[in-house]
Assembly symmetry: C2
Homo-oligomer: 187 residues x 2
Protein backbone atom coordinates (compact mmCIF):
# COMPACT_ATOMS: atom_id res chain seq x y z
CA UNK A 1 0.00 0.00 0.00
CA UNK A 2 1.10 3.56 -0.66
CA UNK A 3 0.29 6.65 1.36
CA UNK A 4 0.56 10.02 -0.37
CA UNK A 5 1.41 12.74 2.13
CA UNK A 6 3.95 15.46 2.83
CA UNK A 7 3.49 14.92 6.56
CA UNK A 8 5.99 12.51 8.07
CA UNK A 9 4.03 12.08 11.31
CA UNK A 10 0.95 11.04 9.38
CA UNK A 11 3.01 8.47 7.48
CA UNK A 12 4.44 7.11 10.73
CA UNK A 13 1.03 6.74 12.36
CA UNK A 14 -0.30 4.81 9.38
CA UNK A 15 2.86 2.73 9.10
CA UNK A 16 2.32 1.56 12.66
CA UNK A 17 -1.29 0.65 11.92
CA UNK A 18 -0.60 -1.27 8.72
CA UNK A 19 2.29 -3.08 10.37
CA UNK A 20 -0.17 -4.73 12.73
CA UNK A 21 -1.88 -6.24 9.71
CA UNK A 22 1.39 -7.34 8.12
CA UNK A 23 1.08 -4.76 5.35
CA UNK A 24 4.12 -2.75 4.34
CA UNK A 25 3.38 0.92 3.84
CA UNK A 26 5.35 2.95 1.28
CA UNK A 27 5.65 6.70 1.61
CA UNK A 28 5.06 8.90 -1.44
CA UNK A 29 6.30 12.20 -0.05
CA UNK A 30 4.70 14.82 -2.28
CA UNK A 31 2.52 17.85 -1.84
CA UNK A 32 -0.64 17.73 -3.89
CA UNK A 33 -3.28 20.24 -4.86
CA UNK A 34 -6.22 20.58 -2.49
CA UNK A 35 -9.35 22.59 -3.13
CA UNK A 36 -10.95 25.06 -0.75
CA UNK A 37 -14.26 23.78 0.53
CA UNK A 38 -16.31 23.59 3.69
CA UNK A 39 -16.92 19.93 2.86
CA UNK A 40 -13.90 17.81 3.78
CA UNK A 41 -15.26 14.78 1.86
CA UNK A 42 -15.23 16.87 -1.29
CA UNK A 43 -11.68 18.08 -0.64
CA UNK A 44 -10.43 14.51 -0.30
CA UNK A 45 -12.33 13.30 -3.34
CA UNK A 46 -10.85 16.06 -5.51
CA UNK A 47 -7.37 15.44 -4.12
CA UNK A 48 -7.62 11.82 -5.20
CA UNK A 49 -8.71 12.99 -8.65
CA UNK A 50 -5.56 15.08 -8.82
CA UNK A 51 -3.14 12.52 -7.37
CA UNK A 52 -4.33 9.64 -9.53
CA UNK A 53 -2.85 11.42 -12.53
CA UNK A 54 0.63 11.38 -11.01
CA UNK A 55 0.84 8.39 -8.64
CA UNK A 56 0.31 4.79 -9.67
CA UNK A 57 -2.59 3.03 -7.94
CA UNK A 58 -3.40 1.71 -5.46
CA UNK A 59 -2.77 4.58 -3.06
CA UNK A 60 -4.52 6.51 -0.36
CA UNK A 61 -4.30 9.96 1.11
CA UNK A 62 -5.97 11.44 4.14
CA UNK A 63 -7.12 14.82 5.26
CA UNK A 64 -7.71 15.50 8.92
CA UNK A 65 -9.03 18.50 10.73
CA UNK A 66 -10.30 19.86 13.99
CA UNK A 67 -13.79 21.32 14.38
CA UNK A 68 -14.26 23.50 17.44
CA UNK A 69 -17.94 23.84 18.19
CA UNK A 70 -17.97 27.30 19.74
CA UNK A 71 -15.86 28.62 16.84
CA UNK A 72 -18.41 27.38 14.28
CA UNK A 73 -16.21 24.52 13.19
CA UNK A 74 -13.01 26.53 12.84
CA UNK A 75 -10.25 25.68 11.88
CA UNK A 76 -11.87 22.78 9.96
CA UNK A 77 -10.41 22.06 6.52
CA UNK A 78 -7.68 24.66 7.05
CA UNK A 79 -6.46 23.16 10.33
CA UNK A 80 -2.94 22.65 9.06
CA UNK A 81 -2.58 26.19 7.65
CA UNK A 82 -4.10 27.72 10.77
CA UNK A 83 -1.79 25.74 13.03
CA UNK A 84 1.25 26.90 11.09
CA UNK A 85 0.18 30.50 11.46
CA UNK A 86 -1.32 30.96 14.93
CA UNK A 87 -0.14 27.79 16.74
CA UNK A 88 -1.93 26.21 19.66
CA UNK A 89 -1.45 29.44 21.60
CA UNK A 90 -3.68 31.22 19.06
CA UNK A 91 -6.44 28.66 19.49
CA UNK A 92 -6.21 28.96 23.27
CA UNK A 93 -6.49 32.75 22.96
CA UNK A 94 -9.62 32.37 20.83
CA UNK A 95 -11.07 30.02 23.45
CA UNK A 96 -10.50 32.37 26.39
CA UNK A 97 -13.68 32.80 28.45
CA UNK A 98 -15.58 30.35 26.26
CA UNK A 99 -17.46 27.79 28.27
CA UNK A 100 -18.28 25.18 25.62
CA UNK A 101 -14.91 23.65 24.74
CA UNK A 102 -16.27 20.71 22.73
CA UNK A 103 -14.31 19.80 19.65
CA UNK A 104 -14.05 16.97 17.19
CA UNK A 105 -11.06 15.65 15.30
CA UNK A 106 -11.93 14.04 11.97
CA UNK A 107 -9.94 12.14 9.39
CA UNK A 108 -11.07 11.24 5.91
CA UNK A 109 -9.21 8.63 3.91
CA UNK A 110 -9.48 8.70 0.13
CA UNK A 111 -8.43 5.38 -1.41
CA UNK A 112 -8.06 4.87 -5.14
CA UNK A 113 -8.06 1.22 -6.14
CA UNK A 114 -7.43 1.84 -9.84
CA UNK A 115 -11.10 2.05 -10.75
CA UNK A 116 -12.92 3.86 -8.04
CA UNK A 117 -12.36 6.27 -5.17
CA UNK A 118 -13.52 5.10 -1.77
CA UNK A 119 -13.89 7.45 1.19
CA UNK A 120 -13.66 6.39 4.84
CA UNK A 121 -14.35 8.74 7.72
CA UNK A 122 -13.38 8.59 11.36
CA UNK A 123 -13.89 11.07 14.16
CA UNK A 124 -13.34 11.47 17.87
CA UNK A 125 -15.06 13.87 20.21
CA UNK A 126 -13.25 15.67 22.98
CA UNK A 127 -12.42 19.00 24.56
CA UNK A 128 -9.95 21.81 24.00
CA UNK A 129 -8.11 22.06 27.30
CA UNK A 130 -6.94 25.29 28.94
CA UNK A 131 -3.20 24.91 28.24
CA UNK A 132 -0.91 22.73 26.14
CA UNK A 133 -0.02 19.36 27.66
CA UNK A 134 2.45 16.85 26.25
CA UNK A 135 4.94 16.96 23.43
CA UNK A 136 3.97 13.92 21.37
CA UNK A 137 2.03 13.85 18.14
CA UNK A 138 1.72 17.01 16.11
CA UNK A 139 -0.58 19.92 15.40
CA UNK A 140 -3.38 20.33 17.90
CA UNK A 141 -2.59 17.11 19.79
CA UNK A 142 -1.35 18.89 22.96
CA UNK A 143 -4.60 20.87 23.39
CA UNK A 144 -7.09 18.10 22.53
CA UNK A 145 -8.27 15.67 25.18
CA UNK A 146 -10.56 12.95 23.84
CA UNK A 147 -13.60 12.11 25.93
CA UNK A 148 -13.00 9.08 28.18
CA UNK A 149 -9.34 9.91 28.58
CA UNK A 150 -7.46 11.96 31.15
CA UNK A 151 -4.61 12.64 28.71
CA UNK A 152 -4.29 14.84 25.66
CA UNK A 153 -3.16 13.30 22.38
CA UNK A 154 0.10 15.12 23.04
CA UNK A 155 0.61 13.09 26.22
CA UNK A 156 0.06 9.72 24.48
CA UNK A 157 2.55 7.65 22.55
CA UNK A 158 1.58 6.56 19.03
CA UNK A 159 0.13 3.23 20.21
CA UNK A 160 -2.08 4.85 22.82
CA UNK A 161 -3.17 7.66 20.48
CA UNK A 162 -4.01 5.03 17.86
CA UNK A 163 -6.44 3.38 20.27
CA UNK A 164 -8.49 6.60 20.44
CA UNK A 165 -7.89 8.64 17.37
CA UNK A 166 -10.00 9.86 14.47
CA UNK A 167 -7.21 8.54 12.26
CA UNK A 168 -7.71 5.05 13.71
CA UNK A 169 -11.48 5.17 13.28
CA UNK A 170 -11.02 6.01 9.60
CA UNK A 171 -8.30 3.38 9.31
CA UNK A 172 -10.57 0.72 10.83
CA UNK A 173 -13.20 1.37 8.18
CA UNK A 174 -10.49 1.25 5.55
CA UNK A 175 -8.92 -2.00 6.73
CA UNK A 176 -12.33 -3.69 6.95
CA UNK A 177 -12.87 -2.74 3.34
CA UNK A 178 -9.43 -3.99 2.33
CA UNK A 179 -9.98 -7.29 4.11
CA UNK A 180 -13.12 -7.81 2.06
CA UNK A 181 -12.00 -6.47 -1.29
CA UNK A 182 -8.25 -5.93 -1.00
CA UNK A 183 -7.17 -9.07 -2.82
CA UNK A 184 -8.60 -8.16 -6.13
CA UNK A 185 -7.30 -4.64 -5.65
CA UNK A 186 -3.69 -5.78 -5.18
CA UNK A 187 -2.89 -3.92 -1.95
CA UNK B 1 -17.05 43.12 -18.90
CA UNK B 2 -18.07 40.25 -16.63
CA UNK B 3 -17.12 39.69 -13.01
CA UNK B 4 -17.37 36.17 -11.64
CA UNK B 5 -18.05 36.23 -7.92
CA UNK B 6 -20.48 34.97 -5.32
CA UNK B 7 -19.91 38.12 -3.26
CA UNK B 8 -22.40 40.88 -3.93
CA UNK B 9 -20.32 43.55 -2.20
CA UNK B 10 -17.35 42.77 -4.40
CA UNK B 11 -19.54 43.08 -7.48
CA UNK B 12 -20.88 46.44 -6.28
CA UNK B 13 -17.42 47.85 -5.62
CA UNK B 14 -16.25 46.91 -9.10
CA UNK B 15 -19.47 48.11 -10.69
CA UNK B 16 -18.82 51.56 -9.23
CA UNK B 17 -15.27 51.55 -10.57
CA UNK B 18 -16.13 50.45 -14.08
CA UNK B 19 -18.99 52.92 -14.20
CA UNK B 20 -16.48 55.77 -13.98
CA UNK B 21 -14.94 54.48 -17.19
CA UNK B 22 -18.29 54.07 -18.92
CA UNK B 23 -18.02 50.28 -18.84
CA UNK B 24 -21.04 48.24 -17.88
CA UNK B 25 -20.24 45.40 -15.51
CA UNK B 26 -22.25 42.16 -15.61
CA UNK B 27 -22.45 39.91 -12.59
CA UNK B 28 -21.92 36.17 -12.98
CA UNK B 29 -23.04 35.02 -9.55
CA UNK B 30 -21.47 31.59 -9.17
CA UNK B 31 -19.18 29.88 -6.70
CA UNK B 32 -16.11 28.40 -8.31
CA UNK B 33 -13.45 25.97 -7.20
CA UNK B 34 -10.43 27.47 -5.48
CA UNK B 35 -7.28 25.61 -4.55
CA UNK B 36 -5.54 25.71 -1.19
CA UNK B 37 -2.20 27.47 -1.44
CA UNK B 38 -0.03 29.93 0.45
CA UNK B 39 0.46 31.75 -2.87
CA UNK B 40 -2.57 33.90 -3.73
CA UNK B 41 -1.36 34.46 -7.31
CA UNK B 42 -1.45 30.71 -7.83
CA UNK B 43 -4.95 30.45 -6.34
CA UNK B 44 -6.27 33.09 -8.74
CA UNK B 45 -4.51 31.61 -11.74
CA UNK B 46 -6.00 28.17 -11.06
CA UNK B 47 -9.46 29.67 -10.45
CA UNK B 48 -9.34 31.27 -13.90
CA UNK B 49 -8.34 27.90 -15.36
CA UNK B 50 -11.43 26.42 -13.77
CA UNK B 51 -13.87 29.23 -14.61
CA UNK B 52 -12.85 29.51 -18.24
CA UNK B 53 -14.38 26.10 -18.84
CA UNK B 54 -17.80 27.32 -17.72
CA UNK B 55 -18.00 31.09 -18.36
CA UNK B 56 -17.60 32.71 -21.75
CA UNK B 57 -14.68 35.13 -22.03
CA UNK B 58 -13.79 37.85 -21.41
CA UNK B 59 -14.28 37.74 -17.64
CA UNK B 60 -12.38 38.46 -14.49
CA UNK B 61 -12.45 37.25 -10.93
CA UNK B 62 -10.64 38.50 -7.87
CA UNK B 63 -9.34 37.07 -4.66
CA UNK B 64 -8.61 39.35 -1.75
CA UNK B 65 -7.13 38.68 1.63
CA UNK B 66 -5.72 40.18 4.76
CA UNK B 67 -2.18 39.46 5.97
CA UNK B 68 -1.56 40.28 9.61
CA UNK B 69 2.17 40.55 10.20
CA UNK B 70 2.33 39.41 13.82
CA UNK B 71 0.12 36.40 12.95
CA UNK B 72 2.55 35.28 10.24
CA UNK B 73 0.25 36.42 7.47
CA UNK B 74 -2.93 34.84 8.88
CA UNK B 75 -5.72 34.77 7.71
CA UNK B 76 -4.24 35.22 4.21
CA UNK B 77 -5.84 33.15 1.44
CA UNK B 78 -8.50 31.87 3.85
CA UNK B 79 -9.63 35.32 4.95
CA UNK B 80 -13.19 34.79 3.88
CA UNK B 81 -13.55 31.39 5.59
CA UNK B 82 -11.87 32.67 8.75
CA UNK B 83 -14.14 35.71 8.88
CA UNK B 84 -17.22 33.54 8.56
CA UNK B 85 -16.07 31.41 11.46
CA UNK B 86 -14.43 33.66 14.03
CA UNK B 87 -15.60 37.13 12.93
CA UNK B 88 -13.73 40.34 13.62
CA UNK B 89 -14.07 39.65 17.34
CA UNK B 90 -11.91 36.53 16.89
CA UNK B 91 -9.18 38.51 15.14
CA UNK B 92 -9.26 41.13 17.90
CA UNK B 93 -8.92 38.37 20.50
CA UNK B 94 -5.89 36.98 18.67
CA UNK B 95 -4.37 40.48 18.61
CA UNK B 96 -4.78 41.11 22.34
CA UNK B 97 -1.51 42.32 23.89
CA UNK B 98 0.25 42.30 20.53
CA UNK B 99 2.15 45.48 19.87
CA UNK B 100 2.82 45.22 16.14
CA UNK B 101 -0.62 45.62 14.55
CA UNK B 102 0.60 46.06 10.96
CA UNK B 103 -1.49 44.39 8.32
CA UNK B 104 -1.91 44.45 4.58
CA UNK B 105 -4.99 43.96 2.46
CA UNK B 106 -4.29 42.55 -0.98
CA UNK B 107 -6.43 41.90 -4.04
CA UNK B 108 -5.47 39.89 -7.08
CA UNK B 109 -7.46 40.15 -10.27
CA UNK B 110 -7.34 37.30 -12.75
CA UNK B 111 -8.54 38.36 -16.20
CA UNK B 112 -9.07 35.94 -19.04
CA UNK B 113 -9.20 37.61 -22.42
CA UNK B 114 -9.93 34.45 -24.41
CA UNK B 115 -6.31 33.58 -25.01
CA UNK B 116 -4.34 34.37 -21.93
CA UNK B 117 -4.72 34.92 -18.23
CA UNK B 118 -3.46 38.24 -16.88
CA UNK B 119 -2.92 38.86 -13.16
CA UNK B 120 -3.05 42.29 -11.52
CA UNK B 121 -2.18 42.87 -7.89
CA UNK B 122 -3.01 45.69 -5.53
CA UNK B 123 -2.33 46.12 -1.84
CA UNK B 124 -2.72 48.63 0.94
CA UNK B 125 -0.85 48.75 4.23
CA UNK B 126 -2.52 49.65 7.48
CA UNK B 127 -3.21 48.61 11.06
CA UNK B 128 -5.64 46.38 12.89
CA UNK B 129 -7.34 48.69 15.35
CA UNK B 130 -8.39 47.79 18.90
CA UNK B 131 -12.13 47.58 18.31
CA UNK B 132 -14.57 47.49 15.39
CA UNK B 133 -15.47 50.88 13.92
CA UNK B 134 -18.03 51.55 11.21
CA UNK B 135 -20.63 49.41 9.52
CA UNK B 136 -19.82 49.89 5.83
CA UNK B 137 -18.02 47.48 3.56
CA UNK B 138 -17.72 43.85 4.54
CA UNK B 139 -15.39 41.36 6.16
CA UNK B 140 -12.48 42.91 8.01
CA UNK B 141 -13.27 46.47 6.89
CA UNK B 142 -14.34 47.68 10.37
CA UNK B 143 -11.04 46.63 12.00
CA UNK B 144 -8.64 47.78 9.26
CA UNK B 145 -7.40 51.36 9.15
CA UNK B 146 -5.24 52.14 6.14
CA UNK B 147 -2.12 54.22 6.76
CA UNK B 148 -2.69 57.93 6.03
CA UNK B 149 -6.33 57.72 7.08
CA UNK B 150 -8.06 58.30 10.39
CA UNK B 151 -10.99 56.08 9.41
CA UNK B 152 -11.38 52.33 9.02
CA UNK B 153 -12.67 50.94 5.75
CA UNK B 154 -15.88 50.27 7.68
CA UNK B 155 -16.29 54.00 8.30
CA UNK B 156 -15.90 54.96 4.63
CA UNK B 157 -18.50 54.91 1.89
CA UNK B 158 -17.70 52.98 -1.30
CA UNK B 159 -16.27 56.04 -3.07
CA UNK B 160 -13.91 56.90 -0.23
CA UNK B 161 -12.86 53.27 0.27
CA UNK B 162 -12.19 53.05 -3.45
CA UNK B 163 -9.70 55.90 -3.19
CA UNK B 164 -7.56 53.86 -0.78
CA UNK B 165 -8.25 50.23 -1.26
CA UNK B 166 -6.22 47.22 -2.37
CA UNK B 167 -9.13 46.50 -4.69
CA UNK B 168 -8.67 49.89 -6.36
CA UNK B 169 -4.93 49.43 -6.73
CA UNK B 170 -5.50 46.14 -8.53
CA UNK B 171 -8.29 47.71 -10.56
CA UNK B 172 -6.03 50.59 -11.63
CA UNK B 173 -3.49 48.13 -13.03
CA UNK B 174 -6.30 46.29 -14.73
CA UNK B 175 -7.91 49.36 -16.31
CA UNK B 176 -4.54 50.59 -17.58
CA UNK B 177 -4.10 47.26 -19.29
CA UNK B 178 -7.62 47.38 -20.74
CA UNK B 179 -7.09 50.90 -22.04
CA UNK B 180 -4.04 49.68 -23.94
CA UNK B 181 -5.28 46.30 -25.12
CA UNK B 182 -8.98 46.23 -24.36
CA UNK B 183 -10.29 46.98 -27.81
CA UNK B 184 -8.97 43.87 -29.42
CA UNK B 185 -10.18 41.92 -26.43
CA UNK B 186 -13.78 43.10 -26.77
CA UNK B 187 -14.38 44.26 -23.22
Amino acid sequence: MKIVTHNKNKYLEYKEKFYEYGIKLDWVNIEYMEIQSDDPMKIVYESVEYVKKIVEEPFFLEDAGLNIKSLNGFPGPYSSYVHNKIKNSGILKLMQNIEDRSAEFYAIIGYFDGNETHLFKGSVKGKIIEEEKGVNGFGYDPIFKPNNSDKTFGEMDIKEKNSFSHRSMAFNEFIEYLKKFGEKNKI
